[in-house]
């Protein structure tokens, strides 16, 4: 009997532990989340400034029509519903009723029209809203986007990073929206948090928006984004608990260190839409690299396992094609180039570069920032095996590199380019022949031209049926993977690092460039 009572007590204790355990995983109200930012944002208005450093605070300050979780499915946000017409030429948004900006003014379809216009005029990604000809506003809660052609990329573009809804009565006062003083102070948005203070090189402090249009959200009272530029200092701060969370961490040594730390989780989830890839770009118009066989030979000479395991320490994925492997449009059947030196040598012979005294030809590789130096050095070593002598050229800084590459004065370069959601936004620019623009970095600096590729991208850009669209992109990926204007190496080793107190960290496809209204802090 005594025994029985004892085990009963144990069982009760167990139940109560489990009970509180499951209770603790319910989101809790309140608390201040402290996150790290690696740079000072230029300002906080993503409508006129792209990039994830503005995106992180921007997505908290401004709401967008749609939001996304992990699965690339659009979900209602400021638009409670949306409808694409049969012909794909108009998209109707029904706005949440009674939603208000931080200054108490109602959010209307006028603001949607104004936001689209401002973004079209000022945002660098012109292809996002290029087909939008006008925005009609039949009533205060209905906005109809009229398109010149079907534009399926629009739905992804309607997320916080790319389409914040900004108030017309504030940013439409006649000042240039790019330099508007309220981009940095007294920011008026409609997102889950309001701006308290933005101090350059120090912090962005946000507080709960009490009139937020989503019921019961956000959970947190405050978010303090601390600007800590040194990655090692951020890692130490994450480890000792001074920071609760940091996103876009990409120094692999620190990631390895943090993975081993107690009470801290480091995950690569959440970067599929950002879609950052490291690749080896070729100047397809000059020298031996103009020959596709030479480029293929180079691909066969490079051992990606070395890059993935020795350089990235297993923290990055292999990239086999132009679309980030986390995107539903990525062709998972691309064969890639397994390392094969015989094949590489045969292709180089065939292309007319015979081996003389252990050497075939000289070429060079540029890189513009220190984090990709290991890849550049490795390419030099790898190509030496097949008789290609590579000179590694470091650039003093980004503008120096950008000038060299965008003026097509290079043979090869390591480059890092972002997909930015839909291929129309971040992928087409690299391969489209009408985007060969001297002086513009991240245009088609490879000067790659293929009319079939142009046709496929054009058709896929306007194809509303998702299966047909995927098929068009599949053919596109197979052609470029065969012709290799660039050879894709790896995804960036971006990681979100958070400690055990953080519930619901932002692991959707847009990482911290999404509303953090569901993030909460667990109390001990």
């Amino acid at each position: 009997m005594k025994h029985f009572i004892k085990s009963l007590a144990v069982a009760t204790a167990l139940i109560s532990v489990v009970g509180t355990g499951s209770f603790a995983s319910e989101p809790q109200k309140g608390g201040t989340l402290i996150t790290g930012l690696a740079q000072t944002p230029r300002h906080l208005n993503p409508a006129v400034q792209s990039g994830v450093v503005t995106g992180a605070p921007g997505a908290q300050l401004f709401a967008a029509p749609l939001r996304y979780d992990e699965d690339w499915t659009p979900r209602p946000y400021l638009a409670k519903s949306w409808e694409v017409s049969e012909d794909g030429l108009s998209v109707t948004l029904k706005l949440v009723e009674g939603a208000k900006f931080h200054d108490g003014q109602p959010i209307t379809s006028e603001d949607v029209a104004f936001s689209v216009k401002t973004i079209q005029e000022n945002h660098p990604f012109k292809s996002m809203f290029a087909p939008v000809q006008s925005v009609e506003t039949p009533d205060a809660n209905t906005a109809v986007l009229k398109l010149s052609k079907p534009h399926p990329a629009l739905l992804l573009a309607m997320s916080s990073q790319l389409m914040p809804i900004i108030p017309k009565h504030v940013y439409g006062d006649g000042q240039d929206p790019k330099t508007h003083p309220q981009n940095s102070e007294n920011v008026v948005g409609s997102g889950p948090f309001r701006l308290v203070e933005f101090k350059r090189d120090e912090h962005v402090i946000l507080e709960r928006n009490p009139d937020y249009f989503m019921e019961g959200l956000p959970h947190l009272d405050r978010i303090v984004m601390r600007i800590i530029k040194d990655p090692s200092a951020r890692a130490i701060a994450l480890e000792n608990g001074e920071l609760h969370m940091s996103t876009f961490e990409n120094t692999v040594r620190n990631i390895e260190r943090l993975k081993k730390a107690d009470g801290v989780t480091a995950t690569p989830e959440g970067y599929a839409a950002i879609g950052a890839l490291d690749w080896l770009a070729f100047n397809t118009k000059a020298g031996p690299l103009a020959d596709k066989r030479v480029r293929q030979a180079i691909a066969y000479a490079i051992d990606k396992n070395f890059i993935l395991n020795a350089i990235m320490l297993g923290n990055a994925q292999e990239a086999k094609g132009p679309i980030h492997p986390g995107s539903p449009l990525a062709d998972q059947t691309l064969p890639g180039y397994e390392v094969d030196l015989d094949k590489a040598n045969a292709l180089l012979d065939e292309a007319g570069f015979p081996m003389k005294d252990g050497k075939r030809f000289d070429t060079s590789i540029n890189f513009g920032w220190p984090s990709v130096k290991p890849q550049a050095e490795y390419v030099k070593q790898a190509l030496k095996q097949v008789g290609i002598e590579v000179e590694v050229r470091a650039s003093a800084d980004f503008p120096t590199w950008a000038k060299t590459i965008s003026n097509h004065e290079f043979d090869m370069t390591i480059d890092t380019v972002f997909n930015w959601g839909d291929p129309v936004i971040g992928v087409h620019r690299t391969y489209s022949s009408d985007n060969i623009k001297k002086g513009v970095i991240w245009s088609n600096t490879q000067q790659y031209e293929n009319s079939r590729v142009d046709e496929l991208m054009e058709a896929a850009g306007r194809e509303p049926d998702s299966e047909k669209r995927a098929a068009l992109y599949k053919e596109f990926q197979q052609i470029v993977a065969e012709e290799l204007p660039v050879y894709w190496l790896n995804t960036l080793p971006y990681h979100t690092v958070y400690n055990d107190k953080v519930g619901n960290p932002p692991l959707g496809i847009w990482a911290s460039s999404s509303p953090m209204d569901k993030v909460y802090l667990k109390s001990e």
Binding site: K126, S184, E202, H203, R226, E242, F398, S406, R429
Partner: protein
């Protein structure tokens, strides 16, 4: 008066020097390939040709070089340092926002380094071959040789992570609430590690220099006379010898004013100290020409003022220099 005449002459030279600094810096920055349009497009993940042309025309970068130089110099002469391309803020505002943090850091580090350097220098000079002297030499060499960022990171790992005494980053904790005293304590708490790091380089210089000049002075005739007079050891060392051996140290300390920007860049980066060094680094990376020029102008000004002050102080402590140009 004899103190002031050469000083006035120096001020005139200083102004000429400042203009030369401006022209030289502007020209050099102009010669570097690439510009702000590239870095803005970088921070935006790419931009099209129209956007880049727009940025260049917004900032007058499509104008001929001499026109840009002329308009810049004429604006600076009216004390207008222009607008930061990157932050769209007046450069003067940015600099004055950051200046107090840097001054606090650098002056505290300088004072700490001067005191420790001089004391250790004197101690080791009194017995140049003793164990203490060798230890001080070793410490000084280590302090001078170790890269600042490395020292900084090591201190962080030791005193923020393993023994969590001090915060990792920043100048204050935003969650701390209270009166000015509590806030000042909080800033002092954040100040410890950066000051220790920054003073390691300075202290090495001062202790070596002070040691050398003390050894020289301690061997001179008047010290022997002082000993013969029967003055106490303490009086000889600190009243007679130290005063005479201090002038090279003061000269050097004056020259180190340039470190207000240069030395602090690394320390400010490692400890996320929101000062001029961080701003300088950021604006160089971003090719934010007006901000770089503004900071360079400012540091030139600081160096020149520092040198003037050094002259002045030297003349005060050494009457022999008064009246010399």
């Amino acid at each position: 008066m004899t103190i002031l005449i050469p000083v006035a002459q120096r001020i005139l030279y200083a102004i000429l020097l400042l203009v030369a600094v401006l022209v030289l810096n502007f020209t050099m920055l102009h010669l570097a390939p690439g510009d702000i349009a590239d870095t803005i497009s970088q921070s935006m993940g790419g931009a099209d040709a129209d956007t880049m042309a727009q940025i260049r025309s917004d900032y007058g970068l499509d104008q001929p070089f001499l026109v840009q130089l002329g308009s810049y110099i004429s604006r600076v002469l009216t004390f207008d340092l222009g607008y930061s391309y990157f932050y769209n803020q007046p450069v003067t505002t940015l600099i004055f926002e950051k200046l107090p943090a840097t001054l606090l850091l650098v002056f505290t580090a300088q004072i700490v380094a001067l005191i420790i350097g001089v004391v250790l220098g004197v101690i080791s000079a009194k017995n140049p071959n003793g164990i203490t002297s060798h230890f001080v030499t070793l410490l000084a060499l280590f302090g001078y040789a170790a890269p600042v960022f490395w020292t900084g990171i090591l201190l962080l790992i030791a005193f923020s992570l393993k023994i969590p005494l001090f915060p990792v980053a920043g100048m204050s904790d935003v969650t701390v609430e209270g009166g000015w005293f509590i806030r000042a304590l909080d800033v002092a708490h954040h100040l410890v590690l950066p000051v220790v790091t920054l003073s390691t380089i300075f202290f090495a210089l001062y202790s070596r220099l002070c040691r050398a000049s003390m050894i020289e002075v301690l061997g001179s005739d008047y010290v022997r006379t002082a000993k013969a007079k029967g003055l106490s050891e303490f009086e000889i060392t600190y009243k007679h010898a130290l005063k005479n051996s201090l002038s090279p140290v003061v000269t050097l300390a004056g020259l180190q004013f340039s470190a207000v920007v240069s030395g602090a860049v690394l320390v400010e980066t490692v400890f996320s100290w929101p000062g001029l060094g961080s701003l300088a680094l950021q604006s160089i990376i971003a090719r934010d020409t007006p901000t770089i020029l503004g900071i360079l102008f400012f540091s030139a000004l600081v160096v020149i003022i520092g040198n003037l002050l050094t002259d002045f102080v030297l003349r005060l402590i050494d009457p022999r220099l008064r009246g010399r140009a």
